[in-house]
Symmetry: C2
């Protein structure tokens, strides 16, 4: 089997840096495609293709306004990512690093110490 489709879920969709940038831009408000083209410096077809992926995982919504298509962030799609990674928050805190260090020390002392 090949790798899962980028449209499988938000994890796959946002693995691509341009798509994260698109979401970052849309975070500040609705935008037509050409705004994104200019802001990102990508070709228009590339932007449209990335937007399609984001649409399929429902990370963005679209709305027609004359001949423009206005894209808007839909953050709900990102919640599963947040929920998953949040569990690891502790593991890069200073407190956690200190704790791990202490555990290492205790372990070493244990290995050395007792007479049995």
């Amino acid at each position: 089997m090949a790798r899962a489709a980028t449209t499988t879920d938000a994890f796959n969709a946002v693995a691509e840096p341009w798509r994260r940038q698109i979401l970052d831009i849309l975070a500040s408000g609705e935008r037509p495609v050409n705004d994104l083209v200019r802001l990102l410096g990508l070709s228009q077809p590339q932007v449209s293709k990335h937007l399609r992926v984001l649409r399929e995982v429902e990370a963005v919504d679209v709305r027609n306004e004359g001949r423009q298509r206005l894209y808007r962030l839909n953050g709900h799609a990102l919640k599963p990512i947040h929920d998953w990674v949040k569990k690891y928050e502790r593991s890069w805190s200073e407190r956690f690093d200190r704790m791990e260090g202490v555990l290492e020390e205790l372990k070493k002392e244990g290995d050395m110490g007792g007479d049995e």
Copy 2:
């Protein structure tokens, strides 16, 4: 160009569900490969291959212990994901949904109202 390598960064590495599960298991402590094989129900080579990817993005560390290789979580690699997705936290809160609704209402009223 093809899609970026899964070893490019943590975003790509954890796009694969088995790799997230591996990290979830390692979150509870160091484990030899065969533990993961049993717990996941994957073939041993598959597990080793997923572990290699996680090693390359430094989401796990390894340690030799006799003929076993003990893998351990290294949460630091996940911090960039957390930092990125955290910015969107507001966007799925109830308060935010309510706010968006209110903005829509205000917009409609504006469109209807004035005589110019």
